[in-house]
């Protein structure tokens, strides 16, 4: 009995101590750590871990520390739903980041919306992601915003008037990127000489490239992922096509320099983040990332890093009550007003609309950086 009493006292003391001390703010991350999208998911996890470490080292959020709960969603929609349910209902996190792919997001975000939990995509660029509802946020700049700027820049610098188009038609990402290219080309009155397609896993693109070459365009618009984009660049240069190549988000990675060694010049890409962007925040981010993980960050890591900082900025303006349902709503209400200057530059939200035109979630309102490859580096085009 005495033991019981002292145990209860001890328990009371410890819980008392915990509540008077810093509390933990649980933040869920659903990322594709295995499966085909694992390389993106790993970078995303790193970005979040780095941001959480930095925020906690700097005193946390009004004294509370951030605790990441990272779960693997394998890049599959069923897994994404399972992970979202676990994070929201079992781990009771305040906000869920992810999932990595847009398809999984279409399946999982409605769950967060229905349970009134803020959900924050850092890598979902497909249209309609934020149409789900007012608890859905993303800081990934959509290609609908990036590609027009890329085209404008190259028209201005290189006087491009007509382009040949080459795209992968069996992949969500390259297909949606192609759709956005078509729309932007039409809006800006750029003529298309011919449109050629390829499929995932193809290795020989000479037939398509020869056809494109015969139509004598001023540039080639290319919507491909890295695995096909690399060989396409190499084979285009082998065929003597030395035109500028305009790429989508899928091909925007330093890996292109290895994959298209010696043939990677004159590739134009627009992206929300660039390794060559010379702001203090970005330089610090790159240095810290390299120190912690021993590799160079990419766009996905940068966007994840910024995302947690954006949420942290919102949380600083919120008084947490400890009631998770209330706190989630409070965070949702605070998020739209956040402005933040991070690794990807100045950032704010803009409200998106659902299919019937009613206000829904929040997209990124951010200027993309257009760069062109030269001698194995990205040079920012001003």
């Amino acid at each position: 009995m005495r033991f019981m009493r002292s145990a209860i006292v001890a328990l009371a003391v410890t819980t008392g101590a915990v509540s008077s001390q810093a509390a933990e703010i649980k933040v869920g991350v659903a990322a594709a750590l295995s499966g085909l999208a694992a390389q993106y998911g790993a970078a995303i996890r790193n970005g979040f871990e780095l941001a959480a470490d930095e925020i906690n080292a700097a005193g946390g959020i009004n004294g509370d520390t951030i605790k990441l709960v990272v779960e693997d969603e394998q890049g599959r929609k069923e897994e994404a739903i399972n992970v979202f349910k676990k994070l929201i209902f079992q781990d009771k996190v305040l906000v869920v980041f992810g999932p990595t792919l847009s398809n999984s997001a279409s399946a999982a975000h409605p769950i967060a919306q229905a349970s009134r939990t803020p959900v924050f995509g850092t890598s979902n660029t497909a249209d309609g992601i934020t149409a789900v509802g007012n608890y859905v946020f993303r800081n990934s700049v959509t290609e609908a915003d990036v590609l027009p700027d890329t085209l404008k820049k190259i028209v201005e610098k290189e006087g491009v008037k007509k382009v040949g188009v080459l795209y992968g038609n069996d992949d969500v990402f390259t297909k949606s990127s192609y759709d956005n290219f078509v729309k932007a080309l039409k809006d800006q009155g750029i003529a298309v000489t011919t449109t050629e397609t390829f499929a995932k896993g193809d290795v020989d693109f000479k037939a398509q490239l020869t056809k494109i070459k015969a139509t004598e365009p001023d540039a080639i618009v290319l919507s491909a992922l890295l695995a096909e984009g690399g060989p396409i660049l190499v084979q285009a240069r082998q065929l003597g096509i030395n035109l500028p190549i305009i790429g989508g988000n899928g091909i925007n990675s330093p890996k292109i320099f290895e994959l298209a060694k010696g043939a990677s010049d004159n590739l134009w890409v627009g992206s929300p983040w660039s390794v060559s962007s010379d702001t203090d925040v970005n330089r610090n981010f790159i240095t810290a990332y390299e120190r912690k993980f021993g590799s160079k960050p990419d766009q996905f890591a940068a966007q994840a890093f910024d995302a947690l900082n954006i949420v942290a900025a919102a949380l600083k303006t919120v008084e947490l009550s400890g009631d998770i349902a209330k706190d989630r709503i409070a965070l949702r209400d605070a998020l739209p007003d956040v402005t933040w200057t991070g690794a990807t530059g100045p950032f704010k939200f803009k409200q998106a609309q659902d299919r019937s035109g009613k206000p829904a979630g929040y997209d990124a309102d951010q200027k993309p950086i257009v760069s062109v490859t030269k001698d194995g580096v990205y040079e920012i085009v001003n």
């Binding site: 295995s34 929609k77 399946a107 309609g128 038609n169 069996d170």
Partner: protein
């Protein structure tokens, strides 16, 4: 009691999707078991699931059809396709049949990719209303199990069994090979289509890459791993394969490795599958 209800509410909130996926996967495993029980190794079930999922989702999205009708469409569409391709393809046997049906699966995927105005192409179909309730899945599973169990014990079931054991002998005894194989193939397609529609109306989204080679192999693995000697095997296989990755979630990065090891161990030590009545009799032999 209240404590239990509270616990159950929480459990259901987290795991409802997993439980329903269990049921849907069990339907898929049963759909391939039906053809396997007839000695036919056809790998088109993922494609039939896709046809069902798209047919059902399109009926719901474009024509606002009630859920029951969408499910009906999702079962009829793959059955008709199965009937059309079954007639020529089922003349093949063994590995050749497997290859032909795999090829058919690829054709379905490419057709879905290229009929963009209808199926959304690579972008898939988005915003499918979530109609699937727990009792839909349970009811579907109960009906399918009941029908298959009756079928298994009927004259047709005996004919399937005979064809599986020895085709030539069966045909010499007057069993119509073609009709029986076609029946198994078409029924299997209908069940796969049913599973596809239930899945599509559960997960808000479907895309063409979900019904490819990977899914086909997964369905086959569920049936084989569970054991194809009786109707219980595929269900156990589906439950096992669906639950295992979730149960191992605590292992984080090692999850898929351990998952693979367990599967290899099962195949090595239980070659007839998890559910193998003959082995149970050997182990727990009734004192003979």
């Amino acid at each position: 009691m209240d404590a239990f209800l509270l616990w159950f509410d929480e459990f259901w909130a987290v795991y409802s999707n997993l439980v329903l996926t269990l049921g849907i996967n069990a339907l898929l495993a049963l759909s391939i078991w039906l053809t396997l029980a007839c000695g036919v190794l056809a790998l088109a079930n993922a494609a039939f699931m896709g046809i069902g999922a798209y047919a059902g989702a399109l009926a719901t999205l474009n024509y606002d059809s009630p859920f029951a009708l969408s499910i009906g469409v999702a079962m009829v569409a793959p059955s008709l396709v199965a009937l059309a391709i079954g007639l020529p393809v089922l003349r093949l046997g063994g590995v050749y049949l497997a290859m032909a049906t795999l090829g058919f699966g690829e054709v379905v995927r490419v057709v879905i990719l290229n009929t963009e105005s209808i199926t959304g192409g690579a972008l898939g179909l988005n915003g499918i209303p979530q109609y699937t309730q727990w009792w839909h899945v349970l009811l579907a599973l109960v009906i399918v199990i009941f029908v298959l169990a009756r079928l298994h014990r009927s004259k047709t079931g005996r004919a399937f069994e005979a064809i599986k054991v020895d085709e030539t002998a069966a045909s010499l005894m007057g069993v119509d090979l073609r009709a029986n194989k076609l029946l198994a193939f078409v029924l299997g397609a209908a069940i796969a289509g049913l599973a596809g529609a239930l899945n599509a109306h559960l997960t808000f989204f479907i895309g063409p890459q979900e019904y490819g080679f990977d899914r086909g192999v997964e369905i086959l693995t569920m049936a084989i791993l569970g054991g194809v000697t009786s109707i219980i095997g595929p269900i156990i296989g589906a439950v096992f394969l669906t639950l295992l990755p979730e149960l191992l979630r605590g292992l984080a990065d090692f999850r898929l490795i351990v998952n693979g090891f367990i599967l290899v161990a099962v195949v090595l030590f239980l070659p007839n599958g998890l559910w193998d009545p003959a082995r149970f009799r050997r182990w727990f032999g009734s004192g003979r």
